[in-house]
Amino acid sequence: MKIKMKNDNENLNELLKSLYNAEQAELVRQQIQAGDKLFAQFKTHQPDAANIEAVKQNIRDKITSGKHTALPRIIKFIAAAACILIAVSAGIMWMFKNSPQPQVGKIISQNITEENWFSDEQYTQNDKDLAVFEEQYRQLQDLLLAVKLDENGDYESRTGSVDELETSFIEIKTSFWEG
C-alpha cells in the first residue's frame, strides 16, 4: 500500500513561518519533506489475509455474544434494582415501626434553644404583632391580679372589671390564633 502524506488540516508553510524566520522555515520544511520521503521509499508492511479475517471474526463474535448476553444482563439489572428497592423499603418500614412516637410539642421545644425562646432580639419585623399581643397580655395579667386583690373596692365595679377582662382575653385569644 502506498501511503500519501496528506495532512489536510494544516498548512505546513504557515506553521513554520509562525515559528521560524523565512530562511529557517524553508530549511526545516525541506528537511521534513526529505524525512517523509524516506518513509515513503520503504514498502509498508501489510497484515496477511488470515490476520485480517481473524480480526473481523473476533468482532463478529463480540457482536453475536453481545446480542445474546444483552437480555440476561437487563434481567439481572432489573432484579438487582428490585432487590435494592425492597431492601430499602423494608428498612424504612422497620425504622418507623421501632422508633418511638414523636411528641410534637417536645420536638418543637427541642428545636428552639433557650436563648432564642426568651430573646427579644430574635423578633423580626413580622413578629411585631406578637410582641404587641404579649404586651397586652401582660397588662391584662396585671389587671386581673389587681381585681383579685380587690384593689378597686366595691363588688359592682369588680364584676364589671372581670367581665371586661374576660372579653379582652377572648378577643386577644381569637386575634392571636387568627394571626
Binding site: L12, V28, Q31
Partner: protein, 188 residues
C-alpha cells in the same frame, strides 16, 4: 439524484453503522484502517506477530469505544487508541524483562547464550528506527501512518505544537543521518 459519496461521507456512514453494531460496517472499517495501523505497529515493534496481536486488540477496543466517538478526526481518534495500546505493550514488555532479569540474576551459573535480539529489522528503515530515541521513533512513525497534522499530534501528546514540530524535525533529521551512514557502510 445523489452523486457519489466523498471519502469523509463514506467514513461517516461506516462509523454510524459501527455505532449500531453492524458487523459489515466493522468489516469495512477494518479494511479501511488495518494496513496503516498494522504498519504503525510493525514499524515500532519490528515483529509481525506482535503487530498482528496489537491490530486485533486495537479493533476490539474500537468496537468497545466506538460509542464514545464524538465526530472529531477519526484518524486522530483511532491512532490515539493505537498509540496507547503500543505504550501499554512497551510497559508490559519492560515489566516482563525486569522480572526475567531478576530471575536470571538469581541463577548461579552464567548463561553462555548471547541475548536474543528483540527487534528483527525487516529493512534498513526498521534498523535505523530501532537506533533512534524511542520517543522520536514513535512520533515520526505515528505521524507517517496516521497522517495526522502537527496540531492533532500536539493535542494527542498534550504538548505545544512547536515542541511536536521540533521533535519531528529532529527525529527525521536523525533518521536521515542514520540512513546515510548505513548506505556508506554498505558501500564499504
Amino acid at each position: 439524484m445523489k452523486g457519489p459519496m466523498s471519502q469523509d461521507e463514506k467514513l461517516n456512514s461506516v462509523i454510524a453503522g459501527c455505532k449500531k453494531k453492524q458487523p459489515q460496517c466493522f468489516e469495512r472499517l477494518v479494511d479501511m484502517y488495518a494496513s496503516r495501523c498494522y504498519g504503525y505497529f510493525y514499524r515500532l515493534s519490528g515483529n509481525a506477530d506482535t503487530a498482528g496481536d496489537l491490530l486485533n486488540e486495537l479493533f476490539l477496543k474500537v468496537y468497545q469505544k466506538i460509542g464514545s466517538y464524538r465526530g472529531e478526526s477519526f484518524n486522530g481518534w483511532i491512532f490515539r487508541i493505537a498509540a496507547n495500546l503500543f505504550s501499554d505493550y512497551i510497559r508490559q514488555k519492560v515489566r516482563y524483562k525486569k522480572l526475567l532479569d531478576e530471575k536470571q540474576a538469581q541463577q548461579t551459573y552464567a548463561d553462555s547464550d548471547p541475548p536474543r535480539r528483540e527487534h528483527f529489522a525487516a529493512d534498513k528503515l526498521d534498523l535505523c528506527l530501532s537506533r533512534l530515541e524511542p520517543e522520536l521513533a514513535e512520533l515520526i512513525t505515528l505521524r507517517f501512518y496516521s497522517q495526522m497534522s502537527f496540531k492533532e499530534l500536539a493535542k494527542l501528546r498534550r504538548e505545544p505544537i512547536g515542541t511536536t514540530l521540533s521533535k519531528v524535525h529532529r527525529g527525521l533529521n536523525r533518521l536521515r543521518e542514520l540512513m546515510e551512514n548505513e548506505n556508506k557502510n554498505e558501500k564499504r
